[in-house]
């Protein structure tokens, strides 16, 4: 029986800025994500994906609305929230001077993984992600593919029920991206609740159980791919996206280009 692991209620982020005044980067976002599900957050650069996910990870604080991760509210129980999620993005890097084994041990420990089972967990992860050959070399000496494996293992080091992947494939080559998607799919099969943001349509199409389309900080639609196809009458996700973006009123979908320049 799947349970709701992530829920937001009118989650809003307003930046105040001397120059522009109020900027509503995220505007009344309502999403949910259940165990064993991958929720795709699909939007252009600057649409508010990263801000939303960073609020869930308690790096940024919401200015309005609420969000719960594994039953903990992000403002009231920030540490429990962080203990129950793994956050992975292109901007989360690894410590260069320590080895993969030390990395896993460190992150399991700071995320309060039970001490008694810690070594066992580290061994399991090394085995599962195929890191035996390089588990004791320093991270700075590893290739980017190896680093990526360490990074994902680091994300799940404390076996969190919720995983957040913020544009994980953005800097990867095709083969590494495919491998990463496979790993994410397997994690879903382990029963994790996974939120996955991307601006690549094909990726969302292949991987996500449900897709939330976000544009200018607002969620325009949330449904399965089939559901979206039915409600818009388009087959390809790209067309579906453009359909919603155009009907959102404010700008045309090409607006994302200018957003990219500024944001």
């Amino acid at each position: 029986m799947p349970e709701v692991r992530v829920r937001t209620e009118d989650l809003t982020k307003v930046f105040y800025d001397d120059g522009r005044g109020e900027v509503r980067a995220v505007d009344s976002v309502n999403i949910t994500c259940e165990s064993g599900e991958i929720l795709g957050l699909l939007g252009a650069n600057g649409a508010g994906k990263t801000t939303t996910l960073r609020m869930l990870a308690t790096v940024l604080a919401p200015t309005g609305g609420n969000a719960w991760v594994h039953g903990h509210e992000v403002r009231e129980a920030a540490e429990q929230v962080r203990a129950s999620l793994g956050f992975y993005s292109a901007s989360t890097a690894l410590y260069p001077k320590i080895t993969p084994r030390e990395t896993l041990r460190f992150f399991a420990r700071v995320n309060n993984y039970p001490k008694a089972r810690l070594e066992q967990r580290v061994e399991y992860l090394i085995d599962r992600f195929g890191m035996e050959s390089f588990s004791d070399s320093r991270v700075e000496k590893l290739s980017s593919g190896m680093k990526q494996k360490v990074s994902i293992a680091r994300t799940v080091a404390h076996d969190p029920p919720v995983l957040i992947f913020d544009e994980p494939t953005v800097a990867l080559d095709v083969l590494n991206a495919i491998e990463l998607r496979d790993i994410i799919a397997k994690l879903r099969d382990d029963g994790k609740a996974i939120i996955f943001s991307t601006h690549i349509m094909s990726e969302a199409e292949q991987l996500c159980d449900r897709i939330a389309i976000i544009h200018h900080g607002r969620i325009l639609a949330t449904d399965t791919l089939d559901g979206l196809r039915q409600s818009t009458g388009h087959h390809y996700l790209e067309d579906i996206f453009v359909h919603y973006a155009n009907s959102s009123g404010s700008d045309d979908a090409i607006g994302m280009v200018s957003d990219e320049v500024v944001g």
């Binding site: 120059g19 203990a83 993005s89 460190f106 700071v110 680091r154």
Partner: protein, 693 residues
């Protein structure tokens, strides 16, 4: 501050990462350890060589003048033609045609010009800088030692001969006196002896106490910075900061761990350096003149350890804070020099003679503990004062640490983005930069005041006050494309305000004097300085009315434009009006440089700032400022002492001031754009309040 397993894990990670960075360890730790004795050795040897050279060299001099023959005989009788002193200094008399030319040409070290009394009188009349006053001794010859003071040898040689001459004269006087029937050698009259009640340990403790804190802080900053600059700024750069911020570790735990790691490295390096130095000095590998070895009892050592705790924490906290606000390793590195100098400056306090802990210095963090340490080493300190000093520095250390925690909750600091203000420029950027610009301006003004002075006081005032304070706001208006009327608050106030100003300015002047009297209790002014200051203000060759006009009208207008005009305009969205008035006043005070003038002018600045904030106009403040300065100067020329002796006068002055402020409040026109309220509404957007619990 709780040492949780998470804290231990992070400390382990930090230290492990540092130790594995071989090149950094080599260059930042090993190299200095090796270099320190080398530098010390060189300095000691250079000094030894210099002393030896000076003590063995022969100083050449000539004797000239009308009484030259007498002086020559005197020297020959008492010193011989060329004399070797007991300590090896030789004075060699040579014959030259023109001693002055020879001295100029470096062929002589100095010469003795023996003048008759008449010659001396004539010379003294011709040159007023010569010391006259030989009226009582009509026929006394004068031995003038002519030197060229840009040469060390010239000064030292003349000192040597001068000492010899004084001895000769003393001997001769003694024999004259004894010949006349004086019963004892004059040197035996009222002989005094000194007895030092301090033990050798105490004296050496006092000597060491002057340098100990300076030495330790220097080592700690250098050592701690190795880790500190890399830990937060470096993590931002490498992208590991977001990684660690999304773990279950709380901000408190992260800062605690990093602080402890910095402290550990700083202490370790300081200890290594001290031991290093101790080995070289203790084993006499490097000879130094006086022994610095002080027998410190375990008790004293424990007290010192406790005393140094807040300094250690503050050093580490400041380093961490620097790192937290820097966007990259590089930037953190750049700010290290100012942090180092800023930390070292207060540790120099115990080097100043006669500085007591029971004085205003007790509120200056670091400086107060440095003096407390000296007092403890001397023995029998005032424990109350030591305790207060310790608490103040500890409180500042705690505050700095909490700032680091806050920095990790500040979204702009974490993401390191360029703010929109920087992107847009113009008025928005001006508001973000106004305080920094004023600090820069302050420094430039110091340079201007210290280096530019014209012969005519009027020109100096016109340039250093009039032009400078007018140019600064105008430049800012131009660069940031501000609206001049808005920026300088050039609006008309309600008429009632003017009456209030006429009442307030004289009352304010009295209030100002009360503040000055009060402050003088804590920051005593050297009387000579006050006198010089007064004389510099009122030179005798310029008509008084001109000075009054120059020194009241010009500053009254341009200083108001700068401080109550553009500064308040820049701060108006930042803080509450009260805080704006306080900061504006303080800034105004610091622009008056001399320590004793700062508190009084700061109070005046606060009053003027409140007037502007209440009237929305800079003009009443200008009138107030002009009246204040004019009145003060006029009363000074009339030798009226403003110090308030009786309390009723003081109370009356304060009441009048209060009434004037009340009148202004009744006729108020609020300063436009005090938008702190709206800014506050969205404040949570920029700080993460929740990160901690």
């Amino acid at each position: 501050m709780k040492i949780t397993p998470t804290v231990r894990a992070i400390i382990g990670l930090e230290l492990r990462s540092l130790i594995r960075d071989v090149r950094t360890v080599l260059m930042s730790i090993v190299l200095p350890v090796l270099l320190m004795p080398v530098i010390l050795l060189i300095s000691v040897q250079m000094e030894d060589r210099r002393v030896e050279r000076e003590s063995t060299r022969t100083y050449t001099f000539a004797v000239t003048g009308a009484e030259g023959a007498m002086a020559g005989d005197l020297l020959r009788d008492h010193l011989g033609s060329e004399t070797t002193q007991s300590d090896g200094v030789r004075l060699a008399r040579v014959e030259v045609e023109d001693p002055r030319a020879a001295l100029e040409a470096d062929e002589l070290d100095f010469y003795l010009e023996a003048l008759s009394a008449r010659e001396w009188q004539e010379a003294a009349e011709a040159d007023s800088t010569l010391r006259p006053g030989l009226d009582d001794f009509d026929d006394t010859p004068v031995f003038r030692l002519v030197i060229k003071s840009d040469r060390t040898a010239s000064r030292n040689g003349a000192d040597e001969l001068s000492d010899r001459l004084i001895d000769i004269r003393s001997d001769r006087r003694d024999s004259v006196l004894i010949a006349a029937g004086f019963p004892i050698p004059p040197a035996e009259v009222a002989v005094f002896d000194t007895a030092n009640v301090a033990s050798l340990d105490e004296v050496q403790g006092a000597r060491m106490g002057r340098f100990l804190t300076l030495f330790l802080v220097m080592l700690m900053v250098m050592g701690g910075s190795v880790l500190a600059v890399d830990t937060l700024a470096g993590e931002k750069e490498r992208g590991t900061l977001v990684t660690i911020l999304t773990t279950a570790a709380s901000r408190d735990e992260i800062v605690t761990a990093k602080l402890l790691a910095v402290i550990a490295v700083a202490l370790a390096i300081a200890v290594v350096q001290v031991v290093n130095l101790w080995v070289y000095l203790g084993l006499d590998l490097i000879p130094v003149g006086s022994s610095f070895a002080v027998s410190i009892t375990p008790g004293t050592a424990a007290i010192l350890l406790v005393l140094y705790l807040p300094i250690v924490a503050l050093t580490a906290g400041l380093l961490l804070l620097t790192s937290a606000y820097a966007k990259s390793f590089k930037e953190a590195q750049l700010w290290l020099t100012p942090v180092l100098l800023g930390m070292i400056a207060p540790t120099l306090a115990p080097l100043l003679p006669n500085l007591q802990l029971q004085s205003a210095i007790i509120v200056v963090p670091i400086a107060n503990v440095s003096i407390a340490v000296r007092d403890v080493l001397v023995g029998q300190p005032s424990w109350l004062a030591v305790g207060i000093a310790w608490s103040i520095t500890a409180a500042v250390a705690a505050w700095v640490t909490s700032l680091s925690v806050r920095a990790l909750s500040d979204e702009a600091v974490i993401t390191g983005d360029t703010t929109r203000a920087e992107f847009l420029g113009g008025p928005a950027l001006f508001r973000a930069r106004v305080l920094r610009l004023f600090m820069l301006f302050w420094a430039v003004k110091v340079l201007i005041d210290f280096n530019l002075a014209w012969d005519d006081l009027r020109v100096t005032i016109f340039m250093n006050v009039g032009v400078v304070f007018l140019a600064f706001p105008l430049i800012l208006i131009r660069i940031f494309k501000l609206d001049p009327v808005e920026a300088l608050a050039l609006r008309a106030p309600k008429p009632g305000v003017w009456i209030a100003v006429l009442l307030g300015a004289p009352a304010g002047l009295l209030a100002f004097t009360i503040v000055a009297q009060f402050v003088n209790l804590f920051i005593p002014v050297p009387p000579e300085m006050l006198e010089n200051f007064g004389q510099a203000l009122l030179p005798p060759d310029i008509p008084v009315w001109q000075i009054i006009v120059m020194m009241s009208v010009i500053p009254g207008i341009v200083e108001e434009l700068t401080f109550r005009g553009i500064l308040i305009h820049g701060l108006r969205t930042r803080w509450s009006p009260t805080l704006i008035a306080l900061v504006t006043g303080l800034m105004f005070g610091f622009f008056h440089f001399q320590l004793f003038r700062i508190p009084g002018t700061a109070v005046l600045g606060m009053i003027l700032a409140s007037v502007v904030l209440m009237t929305g106009s800079v003009f009443p403040a200008m009138l107030w400022h002009i009246l204040n300065n004019g009145l003060a100067l006029y009363l000074a020329t009339q030798d009226v002492d403003l110090s308030v002796e009786s309390w009723p006068v003081g109370v009356a002055a304060l009441a009048a001031l209060g009434m004037s402020m009340w009148l202004i409040w009744k006729n108020r026109t609020p300063y436009p754009g005090l938008t702190k309220a709206t800014r506050f509404a969205s404040e949570p957007a920029t700080t993460l309040a929740s990160g901690r619990r």
